[in-house]
Symmetry: C2
Subunit: 89 residues, 2 copies
């Protein structure tokens, strides 16, 4: 898969979960949890996953709007990818 | 493909091109051009692609080290994805 397609996949994925409540522009706490369970199965193996997901939502919601917009989602994904890359050195 | 796997794909892709010159930690101008041609085929259809790629390299190289590290690569990819998402509204 090309990077061009990977970028498209990230947009499609965000909109898929963000659209559950009819508003496809933002992720609610519930939608983020749903995304995490399906998209980050390794993270969600933790018995503390509910606690972790609540903390992640708070961290992601940089403007404290109680929802995650696409920019906040991408910033989080970038930070996660950089942390993962650092682990794989 | 899950987001977890997409993140891994981005790391693999960066290292694949960054490793051409034996140093897999950074992309040179030449390596970036190679990546762009393979990974952004739509962008590279432009007859001005060489000019555009030179400008992109300068923009990506935030610390002016004349190479692109993984962080710079991810910042660029994030900006591109946000711009793409904005176009698809």
């Amino acid at each position: 898969m090309t990077l061009e397609k990977l970028m498209g996949e990230m947009i499609v994925c965000f909109r898929k979960y963000a659209g559950s409540d009819g508003n496809s522009g933002t992720l609610s706490q519930q939608e983020l949890s749903e995304m995490a369970k399906k998209e980050f199965p390794t993270l969600c193996q933790s018995p503390k996953k509910d606690e972790i997901l609540k903390e992640i939502f708070t961290q992601m919601d940089r403007d404290k709007s109680n929802t995650i917009d696409f920019k906040e989602f991408m910033i989080f994904l970038t930070c996660m990818t950089m942390a993962l890359e650092d682990c794989c050195k």
